[in-house]
Amino acid sequence: MTTFMPFSQTDVLSAVNWALSEDAPLEIYGHGSRRGIGRPSQCEHALDLSAMSGVTLYEPEELVLSAKAGTPLIDIERLLAKHGQELAFEPMNCTRLFGGIVGQTDKTGTIGGALATNLAGPRRIKAGSVRDHILGINAVSGRGELFKSGGRVVKNVTGYDLSKLMAGSWGTLAVVTDVTFKVLPAAETQTTLAIRGLTDEHAIAAMALALGSSAEVSGAAHLPYGVTQRVASDMRGDEAATLLRVEGFGPSVAYRIETLRKLLAEAGPITEIDGRFSKPLWRDIRDCVPFADDTERPVWRVSMAPSEAHKMVLALRMKTGADAYYDWQGGLVWLRMEAEPEAEILRRLITGFGGGHATLVRATPAWRAAVPVFEPQPAPLAALSARLKAEFDPKGILNPGRMASGAPSANVVEAEQEGASHE
């Protein structure tokens, strides 16, 4: 068992070339804060990128930041906040979902990990995901070659967008060593409206109405009965809370909040949650804190058409026990299962309700090995993905099996052993 701890691109190149020559697959991680997601690693050796740390370029007026892949997200967020900016996609912090305590560990996620997993928070509906903000990368492919893609400017269509391809690839295509992100001004202020006591169905309708208005809602979540008290906020009582966040300049937020109040006057009793409580509230929604219960009960992250979400959840509950809450206007459903993942039942229902995908973000290693963690793809698409993987990592040495089961890609192209050994 070897763990490489590179400090530079050259170190990463050496490690990957070692893995190639030894035919020894590597598990690739930064802080490992999301290591519990995906199929359990089958690698004997590891590449720990957490020492590749540091912001290498930050020009607030150009809206651009570059950093080494292992740079802690909290460092980046702190630096941006000093200049009134942020990562608009609100990267999820997985620490609490996996039983960690923020503040007791300094390994709460890296910028490279945020890119590799593409787990965006509530602002996804307005500002896009991690993939929408990545501008450029340097990476070492599974062929042991250092390549770059993209650049440092926000508008660029030169060549294929391999940077986006890294988003959500879970380290299976290349080891990203450096990233450049578009950053944006953070809102001056935020306020959240809470409508209490709505059924899932009425909540989905209310959120659609709000998102279809010009109020520029930047967060729309529904916490059903019983979930409300599991997030930080000043809300009292157990009844359901449908939450709408408005961010921006002070006078604009006040005006838009008023617009929403009028629009939703009929929906139910409305209260306002100001910035002090609003921020931790949305952080907890982002981080799946309602299901951070120190267990390994299965937790699913489901992406589907917002209007269908509550129907799917209702149908699911006819078949099995599940706790649910909604983000992204309903388009993101967090589910905690009573006992087993029930992957087949869930996925059949998602397909029946307009399609989408489900990712098993928490479960025991045994379950994660037994059921597909990521949504299985139709054969032609799965074949295309496998061909793509083979083009980046023909010998299957980068995080093999993390996303799809089975041996490293069967499409291994001819490999030539050449050059003298360094021995």
């Binding site: 604009s252 295309l384 793509l388």
Partner: protein
Amino acid sequence: MSGLAMPKPDDETMRRRATIVADLRVIVPGEGVVDSTNEMRAFESDGLTAYRQLPLVVVLPETVAQVSRILKYCNEHNIRVVPRGSGTSLSGGALPLEDAVLLVMSRFNRILEIDFPNRAVVAQPGVTNLGITTAVEQEGFYYAPDPSSQIACSIGGNVAENSGGVHCLKYGLTANNVLGIEMVLMDGEVVRLGGKHLDSEGYDLLGVMTGSEGLLGVVTEVTVRILKKPETARALLIGFPTSEQGGQCVADIIGAGIIPGGMEMMDRPAIHAAEDFVHAGYPLECEALLIVELDGPGVEVDHLIGMVEAIAHKNGSTTCQISTTDAERMNFWAGRKAAFPAVGRISPDYYCMDGTIPRKELPKVLAGMREMSEKYGLRVANVFHAGDGNLHPLILYDANVPGELDKAESFGADILRLCVKVGGVLTGEHGVGVEKRDLMPEMFNEVDLDQQMRVKCAFDPNHLLNPGKMFPQLRRCAELGRMHISGGKLPFPNIPRF
């Protein structure tokens, strides 16, 4: 055509033309196959009109099944295919090849579904960009990316080129506004990526497809996100004595946390050409003219107008007009929107470039362009998407003067080299196509380009889809697949291990 090398036509395909035409007629009956020289003339060029080439044959399918059969047939018979939407590409992305079937998607012109609760529109790829907005505007919605050709360009073409527009700083490019596509691969397989849900269940193939310039697959359906129209929009028209001051003003606006709906800059030659043409009342004494448009609720717009005005003043603006009516706002834009035809009036031909630079490098790049302008003896006017650093220098030339097109192209290439040198890129929104193909090595080394080509191999291993575009030279996939494992065993690699 000025010395542009395209892939050598395949003799076998050329010889079999009559059979191919007949076989395509079986797949697409009726008038969907066009093979007469006269009728094919309409398709010999796209928006990059300096280049013309008649295709082998033109086919206009109407169904996904036909597209699938055409591609499968061509794949099996080793026939090249060039996909085309409305043909508005400014980089020659849809330039035909002598031995290639030109696959025209214009008959896919229907909106399939409008879904207001999920704020999504499902459209066939031949629907125009503006057609999507037209379909939803009665409910107060619109589709945000607005390339200047939006009245004509197709949404399928927008996906192929990852089109932008003046609003993309705030609202994103095509890639940020497309939720899903259906596409046909070169072997005829039909695959769907995304849908009304967000993000991908696997690799972000949608992200790779967007901006792939028709080299990876043929889009047959597009699902886009629509947005509610902002309540109001107002604009400021600000003049500066130097481009440095204009540039600093842009930086300060963004530094103050303001992301305008649109932020455009013009240099002196562009200001004068536009004013002479549309008489928008532009100040003629300034070196840089900035249009800043703010959109949103009235109270927000008013608040931000005050902030921007103060920032402009601090940066030494010499004039600052603020629109109070929509007519006034449109008037501010009239000159900018007419900048290309306005330049067309003062020169027989112009060549539009599309580099992006870090904004702070603007004065340096403008100075560099002035030097080049003298060296080449050609005038240049600049319009600039100031917020995102996307520069559109317009090089003025006369195609009837022998050698001027070549000179304009060399001038353009030098500008793009300068863009890359200061940390920018070759193209911000027009695409590589044939135009900037041979400049790719300015930005990417061989390893970078090989890895991009390997992506191509996963989609189209025989290089049949739109060859001769984007990549300076094609290398066979088998050759790209070889691995050179050097180094062998590394007992003491220079890395800490635990």
